[in-house]
Symmetry: C2
Subunit: 155 residues, 2 copies
Amino acid sequence: MTASTSAANGKVEGFLKDLADQLRAGDTYGKLDKFSDEAMLAPFVLTKEQRRQISVACDIDAVIEARVRSFYQAVAAAVEKATRVETTTVLDLNHEGFGRVVIFAGRLVVLSDVLRDAQRFGFNSLEDLAARGEAFVTAAAKYVDQYREAARDDS
Amino acid sequence: MTASTSAANGKVEGFLKDLADQLRAGDTYGKLDKFSDEAMLAPFVLTKEQRRQISVACDIDAVIEARVRSFYQAVAAAVEKATRVETTTVLDLNHEGFGRVVIFAGRLVVLSDVLRDAQRFGFNSLEDLAARGEAFVTAAAKYVDQYREAARDDS
């Protein structure tokens, strides 16, 4: 799996496509229709310097919290596609940008991640974003395989 | 297991004791020291009429969100005592009082509960509060027993 983007039309593939789909799915009023996938994903990329300039002394912005949620929901959606089990994403983030995210299927936790300084949530490049998302999906699919019964327990 | 309270000194037992301990553990400045366990638990009890009078059109209050969190953290603590596995509580509650709470041990979800109108979070009586908490703990312990390997997987 590679994070290829086609410069010609701003379309993306793989995990980036899943994330773009996730953003469009939450776009009730079609405000994002005029943007290419690549343009829509631009806010997910922050240089080290940009990250450093974001204060973590401030409460986390609702827009950034939504961005964090979209990322993990895209992972959850990709896990569903890869494993055919239903997933749920739970994000517990306090106003200081600290918290935890869990994705589970049935009774199985397929991803658990601690978040710190979520105000600075971002990736060095689209390639890094894709690689991180795909690594999460691969690890989650492995757990679904390892704990088949728990992942399919809907009790 | 019964939810007995001793009227003489306001002390409580069983799950109510776990919940009281949870509240005192979060009381950094000892503001609750002067209250008996029973007095501290009083805000968890709401009559049907009291619940009806609480508007769910308003954003959920931080105090009520903390109360909801305490309840599930007390369940998590009681599960730890009963099963000797470590647990984590994740509460994803939006400002409209809708959300989900998950308690997990290792890779196992031992409790998953949907929250609606959390502004009205409360129980008919201390007995009901204790019964609900204890039912959650019993169910969770059963899952830890059923999925021993997943519950102890710290990967």
